[in-house]
């Protein structure tokens, strides 16, 4: 058995349900830290940033599924839906912390920020693009939409790009971390234009 086969066997052994079970744990942990002082003196921003970064990491993981299969033969297809759905919920939590804790009740300022602040507008646009994808992440929708489902779910490309830009745009000074996220996103989008290896090469 090759290394790839072993990896694939291990991935197959994990039931997709497991991801949904462990997915809330990071959020619960950060919430616990935030309530007990573990996120520092300004826990609202810290919680907001942790959730946002984790959401981006999951979106990037989702983008990596296809290139991993095509170019390395590692098959995570079975878990792609769970990765995507969990990513959506982390984006939602990130947004809810901004609305409910960071901006708590300042609806005028919230509305003005969404319209006037490019990085907030970009983040919101990315979130809106993800809504139809989350809504059609069930077997029934996949069956009913058929070919159109695949086309619809290409919306994840602009959505992740907007998320990456949202992060790059909000920091002060020339910081490395958001640029690394952006590089990963652009890299994973770029490998999609590389022609697929021939079928025979995959079997070798």
């Amino acid at each position: 058995m090759s290394v790839t086969d072993r990896i694939n066997a291990a991935i197959r052994a994990v039931p997709p349900r497991l991801l949904y079970i462990v997915a809330p744990l990071p959020a619960a942990w950060w919430l616990y830290l935030g309530l007990t002082g573990g996120l520092g003196p300004e826990p609202i921003k810290a919680l907001e940033h942790e959730l946002g970064k984790f959401a981006l990491q999951l979106l990037i993981a989702g983008l990596a599924v296809t290139p991993l299969r095509r170019h390395l033969g590692i098959n995570l297809m079975k878990h792609r839906r769970a990765i995507g759905v969990v990513a959506f919920f982390y984006v939602l939590l990130h947004l809810l912390v901004w609305l409910g804790l960071d901006m708590a009740g300042l609806w005028g300022q919230i509305a003005a920020d969404i319209v006037k602040r490019p990085y907030i507008a970009l983040g919101m646009a990315g979130f809106v693009l993800l809504i139809p994808l989350a809504a059609t992440s069930n077997a029934l929708a996949v069956r009913k939409l058929g070919v159109r489902w695949r086309k619809l779910h290409r919306l994840v490309y602009p959505a992740v790009l907007l998320g990456g830009l949202h992060y790059v745009w909000l920091v002060k000074g020339l910081q490395l971390e958001p640029l690394l996220y952006m590089a990963a996103i652009l890299g994973l989008l770029a490998v999609r234009v590389i022609p697929r290896p021939a079928r025979t090469a995959l079997r070798a």
């Binding site: 520092g40 300004e42 919680l47 804790l101 708590a104 300042l106 745009w169």
Partner: protein, 309 residues
């Protein structure tokens, strides 16, 4: 004591020392439990007088003030300065005072302290990122040091520089900003009695993450104007280049007075949240000149503050 300027506060407005020490003891006591090693009454270490310029708002805890910092010389994360500023050597330390002064030269830190009156100044601090704190600084008026150096008649601006030492300041190994960090004030802003050089915090020598051994505090301007770990002060006849303004002039003006009506291009400055209030702390309205309008608004009379932001 500078004493060239009058305000409408009297000594009767000063919080009585007993009440003041009691309150401080409570706060410092709590803080020392967490921080460890900060003992008893706040004024134990440095001998400093209370000041009429202090706010009566409750100061943030020592823990808050020393664990949540922007000091990009040690990294851009809020806890980076507390984590990495240990590496900084602050003894010996001297400040080069040059440019349009009668007595230019390298002023040793101990020598600077000999001729000044230390006061405790409890000031509000408003960061450009829309968070705020209340900090019990110990320091002296910048005007005292400038007076000692002898400001020449043609001087109109004061430029400041932070230490450049990438071996000890790990953030300086990457171009987050163009190092060394630079800041500047107009001469009248620099001579204003609210403007201090801080050497202490909560009655002790100022911790490295807060800008040891000597930092500027200009409480009516966004925090980044209050440059840390100063090694050079230059008097000049024109506006000096300043770090954040060099990085992005549209977002960070030379004046950078706290102003709820002039937004940062990327976020609103209308509200702020005081650090240390936990997960359910609400934002509060930001005040013009960070609440120091009565003292400083006159400096900007006739200026359009949406232009001179």
């Amino acid at each position: 004591m500078a004493g060239r300027w009058k305000n409408d506060l009297n000594w009767s407005d000063v919080t009585p020392k007993a009440a003041f020490l009691n309150r401080r003891q409570l706060i410092a006591g709590t803080a020392s439990l967490v921080a460890g090693g900060i003992a008893g009454p706040a004024l134990a270490g440095l001998d400093a007088r209370p000041s009429a310029y202090s706010t009566d708002e409750a100061p943030n805890s020592f823990e808050d003030i020393t664990s949540y910092n922007n000091f990009y010389e040690f990294g851009s994360g809020k806890s980076d300065p507390a984590d990495y500023s240990d590496a900084l050597t602050i003894d010996p330390w001297s400040v080069k005072i040059d440019g349009m002064v009668d007595r230019p030269g390298d002023y040793a830190f101990d020598d600077i302290l000999k001729d000044v009156t230390l006061e405790e100044r409890i000031y509000r601090l408003r960061c450009v990122e829309a968070w705020s704190m209340v900090v019990p600084w110990i320091g002296f008026e910048l005007a005292d040091l400038l007076g000692r150096a002898g400001v020449q008649p043609g001087a109109k601006y004061v430029a400041f520089e932070t230490l450049l030492r990438p071996e000890e300041m790990r953030g300086q190994r990457r171009p987050i900003l163009e190092w060394p960090y630079r800041e500047g004030l107009r001469l009248d802003e620099a001579m204003h009695p609210l403007t201090i050089l801080a050497t202490g915090l909560y009655g002790e020598a100022i911790p490295k993450q807060n800008g040891a051994p000597l930092r500027l505090v200009v409480p009516w301007k966004y925090g980044f104007k209050s440059i840390k770990s100063i090694v050079r002060i230059s008097l000049m006849d024109r506006e000096p280049p300043t770090s954040w303004n060099m990085a992005n002039a549209r977002e960070y003006g030379f004046y950078s007075n706290v102003n709820p009506e002039v937004d940062h291009p990327r976020w609103s400055q209308a509200t702020e949240r005081k650090v240390g209030g936990g997960l359910f702390a609400k934002r509060v309205p930001t005040r013009m000149f960070n609440g120091y309008g009565e003292e400083v608004a006159g400096l900007y009379r006739g200026m359009d503050l949406t232009e001179a932001y």
